[in-house]
């Protein structure tokens, strides 16, 4: 006997606790089984690319802060590198060191949010607050450096907006010392919790070839077992001077490329970031951070695509210049935008609860998806 059944269309979002912003998911359900997911985006569209065409190269920097607002430093860095490449500016050593430290601190800060909210998605509240407690310390360091806690506008073309304060180095060292126990704590409380593993292992398995074809980058790609990190594979800034490992998903508790692997890669990456900071913090050379900042930026005619390993993946800026004061065209390649496009493929055949787990493991930020 075949009963006529109808799929239920559940409209998840744009206001929903676990869509990580104003994302709307049109979910077709058969019972609680996901048949199809259609992400609908654009609720946070703020015309970033259109704005860029009307702003000078310098004025764009604060707008890049607002792309991935959890990793503003890294956004600044990526954009600024593009302009510098276009103009052929070589920045001083001191600036490079500070930029790397900032970017790695930002990576930790972003991962704490990703991991904490992932715990929230699964229903564990406490690790979230543990991780946020330590994120506050990073924000305090940033605040001491440039006065802002979220949107820094710190890395400028050719240099930095401020030099680091005297207490910067001790603050970072203190943070490193205090952060390692937190990682242990969260591992005990969440990573190897039986329920957490049951919820995330073997859920949303992303095979390596699908991941590459979809252009997935960052921890989500490494979760599928591909050793690919722009800091190593396409080194920029001074990353080639530091020793660190690229953690990849190994299927420790399930299949390679499942949600737990993506989670675990982020967990391990924080440790690697700490290593980089440790190597950099004692070797910051003296110098002037404003040395190379040009008075007026007039990029030569041409195009450049520059990318950097953001906490969420490869953030790229494709800049077309026609030799005037404003860029002719700025196209952003936001990592979350590309990573989110795989969601529909990834979550077919799982339960609604798994959909949340998969979405959380991709770690998206709507600020850069909608731009």
């Amino acid at each position: 006997m075949a009963l006529k059944t109808e799929e239920l269309v559940l409209n998840m979002g744009p206001q929903h606790p676990s869509t990580h912003g104003v994302l709307r998911l049109l979910v077709e359900l058969d019972g609680e089984l996901v048949v199809n997911v259609k992400p609908i985006i654009g609720y946070l569209h703020r015309c970033f690319e259109k704005h860029c065409e009307a702003l000078s190269y310098n004025q764009i920097v604060p707008y890049t802060d607002r792309l991935d607002y959890l990793a503003s430093m890294s956004n600044n860095l990526s954009y600024v590198m593009g302009v510098e490449k276009l103009m052929g500016i070589q920045v001083p050593e001191r600036v490079e060191y500070i930029r790397v430290i900032m970017a790695e601190l930002q990576r930790i800060a972003s991962h704490t949010v990703a991991l904490g909210t992932y715990g929230l998605d699964i229903g564990a509240f406490t690790p979230f607050l543990f991780l946020f407690r330590d994120r506050e310390k990073i924000l305090d360091i940033f605040e001491a450096t440039c006065g802002a806690r979220l949107l820094y506008n710190y890395i400028w073309v050719g240099g930095l907006s401020h030099d680091i304060p005297d207490e910067f180095v001790p603050m970072v060292k203190k943070f490193i010392k205090e952060f390692r126990p937190t990682i242990e704590e969260v591992n005990e409380l969440l990573s190897f919790n039986k329920i957490f593993i049951e919820r995330t292992a073997n859920i949303g398995v992303l095979p390596p070839d699908t991941a590459i074809n979809y252009g997935i980058t960052g921890p989500s790609l490494r979760g599928s077992g591909i050793k690919w990190d722009l800091r190593k594979n396409d080194p920029y800034s001074i990353y080639d001077r530091f020793e660190f490992d690229i953690p990849v998903g190994e299927g420790k508790v399930g299949t390679v490329g499942d949600s737990w692997d993506r989670y675990w890669v982020r967990m391990l990456e924080m440790e690697q970031s700490l290593r980089i900071i440790e190597q950099a913090i004692d070797n910051i050379p003296d110098g002037d951070v404003h040395e190379m900042v040009p008075k007026r930026i007039k990029a030569p005619k041409g195009n450049v695509y520059v990318r950097a390993e953001n906490p969420k993946g490869e953030l790229g800026f494709f800049i077309l210049s026609d030799g005037k004061n404003n860029p002719f065209r700025v196209k952003v390649r936001p990592p979350s935008f590309v990573n989110l496009s795989v969601l529909g493929e990834l979550s077919k055949g799982y339960l609604v609860a798994d959909l949340i787990a998969i979405l959380g493991s991709l770690d998206i930020v709507l600020g850069e998806i909608d731009r």
């Binding site: 699964i122 229903g123 543990f130």
Partner: protein, 355 residues
Amino acid sequence: MYDLLTNLLGNQIVAYVIAASLPLIFVLTFVLFAVLAERKVSAHMQDRLGPMRVGWHGIIQTLADMLKLLQKEDIVPEGADKTLFNLAPLLTFLGTYAAFAAIPFAGIYVGSSTAIGIYYVTAVSGLVVAGLLLAGWASDNKYSLYGAMRTAAQIVSYEIPTAIAILTMVMVSGTLSLMKISDMQTAHFWNWWILGGPETGIVKFLLIPFMIITFLIYYISSLAEVNRTPFDLPEAESELVSGYHTEYSGMKFAFFFLAEYANMFAVSAIAVTLFLGGFHSPIGYLGHSLGIDWLVPVEQFFWFTFKGTALVFVQMWLRWTLPRVRVDQLMVICWKYLIPYAVVNLIIVGIITLL
């Protein structure tokens, strides 16, 4: 209790009314306390302070919240069935509150010392399901309906291991009366049923491990029955927003809240009565040794609330530690683990009692 009140007041009806409303006073004070406790417990587990502004260490925060909820606009969704929408919170609270009628708080403080107390409590808690299902349906919201469906499926399923665990206790104690079960465990804590009860000799020692298993089965399934983490799927915030009470606001929401916390205490109270000596003191009564008779019920009441609150605290502790299981895993835990274990446990305990 009626006899006492009837003698005291000389009027049967007044006595009934007072007897019926005494647990309400308890429930209300308990909820006021428990909501604050939950926030404080969670806060201290997470390196925070929790509410600190209203009163000393935020002690009257819940009262302030209550006042806020009272003032809120009463919103009924446009597509909702208004009558049923309004009925649902009442029905939910009714089911919870009815259970309090048979819970013995102290030797003299029990709504009804009926001979089938535990059976009655199990039966009326079924009303809660009807209330939640109604809330989900009447809200005219897909999240609410999903939440309600999950609640109903979850509670109905977990009633089975709960019932089997209770059945085990009924079998060893030989009575359905909560009062009698309490009285069996009088005097000292080694008379608690979790430690073999008033049995003696080899039977007692054989019983202890299986009694502990029974207790664990009961406690785990009671967690699911009151929708607490790790079984809080019906209101799973990250998936279903808030489940069945998504659409409720103001006082009606407060009723669900009240019912939830009252329910937490109700299941803990049953656990205390069945396994942990009920209202009896684990170390003997001060009132007896001093010769002050009126002190004994006070002590009994203290011990009962103390034990019950301790179990509620464990529920909070679990909530802020564990993630949430998935809906199919929830069913697996119930049907593949708890029920078979409970049945086997029941048979073994049966054999032991025959010895």
